[in-house]
Amino acid sequence: MKILSQQKAPIMEALNKYKKMRVVPFDVPGHKRGRGNEELTAFLGENCMTVDVNSMKPLDNLIHPVSVIREAEDLAAEAFGAKHAFFMVNGTTSAVQAMVMTACKAGEKIIMPRNVHRSAINALILSGAVPVYVNPGVNKELGIPLGMAVADVEKAILENPDAKAILINNPTYYGICSNMQAITDLAHRHGMLVLVDEAHGTHFYFSDELPASAMSVGADMASVSMHKSGGSLTQSSLLLINNEVSEGYTRQIINLTQTTSGSYLLLSSLDISRKNLALNGQEIFRKVGQMAQYTRDEINKIGGYYAFSEELRNGDTIYDFDTTKLSVHTLEIGLAGVEVYDILRDEYDIQIEFGDIGNILAYISVGDRRLDLERLVSALAEIKRRYSQDKSGLFDHEYINPQVVYTPQKAFYALKETLPINDSAGRIASEFVMAYPPGIPILAPGERITPEILQYIQYCKDKGSFMTGTEDSKIEHINVLKEAEK
């Protein structure tokens, strides 16, 4: 067996070697190391352009890796404790879709919480798999969806013994984790695969102080956004597999939709970031955790805001909490999260990750400087001083239990008609409505539209959330199933 060294970065090393060979390029890309596109080269830099190259023997090939990409994937698998790691170049979206499509064929069931990212439900449209939704718990005070209760998962499993897989968020956008070990063991006892969306959980693999990672509890597949907390380039991601999941079959599924021109900028960024995490991850995330905790304490000192953390743990729907996340509840100062989000950007030149109805999320990473944290805290103190108001009239969001009438695929491809969104109550949606970020659907294809949902959508619009999902880019109309289809 080959001995792996996490010091190595095989893709980067191969690219460096290739550059030195000064090969004459009569292949794509046509910019030919940047020479054919001066403006782009001036903008991105020559270094960047010279490694924007095509798959070739010395650099391996993403659709069937046998040399340096293979080696880099093996190193990543070792670093993450997986059987195999696939380098992904179309975001965690592509990893989530590959998980679902590997686990389920058309008509097969998959158990999942409703507060999944759009990519998971999109996977159902593509594959024809049938969702069985588990109601995530909701924290009433904060108005955020939580993890899944183990008892609810068990109930769903017993009611749907034919389900093939269960999908779990680890953690949610807000940093909340379900009881991964218990759910994984439960699913395995019933012969179901455990798929984990770890878009926000890369750092769990590199810290003893953070919640359990999917691979560590024996889950079968995980989608890991290296480009979020892992430091790689936007759009690069990892798909991890474990246990009996077949590497070859998973690769076939990935190749159904994956480009045949995988970007070496993205691939090398995964390689280099994996090396950095493997060598320095513990130290990096200890620092990030400290910065987040400092900022949380300072925000809580302001009063009114509630920067929440581990104290929320309840042994079940909030089994664990990711303390590197800085989520802040804003309703007590009389402002919706999205309003604070907008004021921070427009008046204070501070861009945070997202604001929803009741909360904001600021993303803390190793790239943050102390003085920027001070700016964030001071700006929040100022926003409270200048804008806080009576909180009555603010919506406290309840989880709206979806009424699923058709599978997402059937509804999406059904005969449909377009209605003004406010006249659509009672009809069945053929498309999504969501606020982005966080990109968790308010309405998904196949679900019945209710007055309560319409009221919530209107409220999100009024507060300035960025809405998306419908064919109509203004979200004034919605596609619903033709009555005859009902």
Binding site: V377, S378, A379, E382
Partner: protein, 283 residues
């Protein structure tokens, strides 16, 4: 030996001083700190290669950042000074017997230590019992103070590097909150001359005018700063720096100053047209 210190005053302009001896070099958590013995300007403190203070011209800066507000409101007793690690601002303030309390907040303790050792001309009064030193981020310090100070002086470095936070809207808003209802804010306001400095100057003015009913700008001539043409901001909740100036009262104090007098106090608020226009553009 032909040994010259060089600073870029703009991307296309250099300023240079002959150095006799490099007295100190060190790196703190925040910045690189150097002290030079120069032929013309005496001892010079630089941070990250930018001149902060020279023995020859520091009096201009320190006179004007302190005596203008002090002469405008004779009742100032409690003061917050932010930045000012060289001690020159505090030295001027301690000339007033009526001042009871000065909080000085400097993020970088090493700057103070180095100045105490190498530039006693400015750092000499940091041990005055009325002076309370706090080594922390100025933005953080003001956050927790409310309705407390008669005067806040922002003696900051430039709007990049560790002083960045002191040019932000959240900082000025927090200063407003920390001041009493007749409080005054005076700040180092950059220069109108070179483009980059002028942008920083306009940004600061825009942000301050968002909070204070009275917002004036006054000018000084500082030979070692880029272009030599430098500005201070005077913002207050009540006092007008010219109408409320009580020149007799200040003159009766009999303070020794090398640059400031009550005529130049008034005159420094007269601005060239191009500066007026820059300010009006953002008001």
């Amino acid at each position: 030996m032909n040994f010259w210190f060089v600073e870029n005053h703009s991307p296309n302009v250099k300023f240079s001083m002959r150095v006799i001896e490099h007295l100190y070099t060190g790196k703190s958590e925040f910045q690189k700190i150097d002290v030079l013995q120069t032929a013309e300007f005496g001892r010079v403190l630089t941070l990250d290669g930018y001149v902060m203070v020279t023995e020859k011209d520091e009096f201009i800066y320190h006179d004007m950042i302190t005596h203008v507000p002090m002469a405008t409101n004779p009742d100032i007793k409690k003061i917050l000074v932010i930045g000012a690690g060289d001690g020159g601002t505090v030295r001027e303030l301690t000339k007033y017997d009526r001042i009871e309390h000065i909080d000085m907040v400097e993020i970088d303790e090493m700057v103070v230590d180095v100045c105490k050792e190498f530039i006693p001309q400015t750092a000499s009064k940091l041990d005055d019992p009325r002076v309370h030193l706090h080594f922390e981020d100025g933005l953080k310090f003001v956050r927790s103070h409310e309705n407390e100070y008669d005067l806040i002086i922002v003696d900051s470095t430039d709007p990049f590097g560790p002083g960045e936070g002191l040019f932000t809207r959240e900082f000025y808003g927090n200063c407003y909150k920390a001041l009493k209802e007749d409080g005054i804010l005076v700040n180092q306001h950059e220069s109108p001359f070179y483009e980059e400095d002028a942008l920083g100057m306009q940004r600061a003015h825009k942000r301050i005018t968002g909070f204070f009913p009275v917002c004036k700008v006054y000018q000084v001539h500082i030979p070692t700063y880029p272009s030599g043409h430098w500005l201070f901001g005077f913002a207050s909740k009540k006092f007008d720096p010219i109408n409320d100036l009580n020149a007799d009262a200040w003159n009766q104090l009999g303070l020794q100053t090398k640059y400031y007098n009550t005529d130049i106090h008034v005159g420094s608020f007269a601005l060239p047209n191009y500066v007026k226009e820059q300010l009006e553009d953002v008001e």
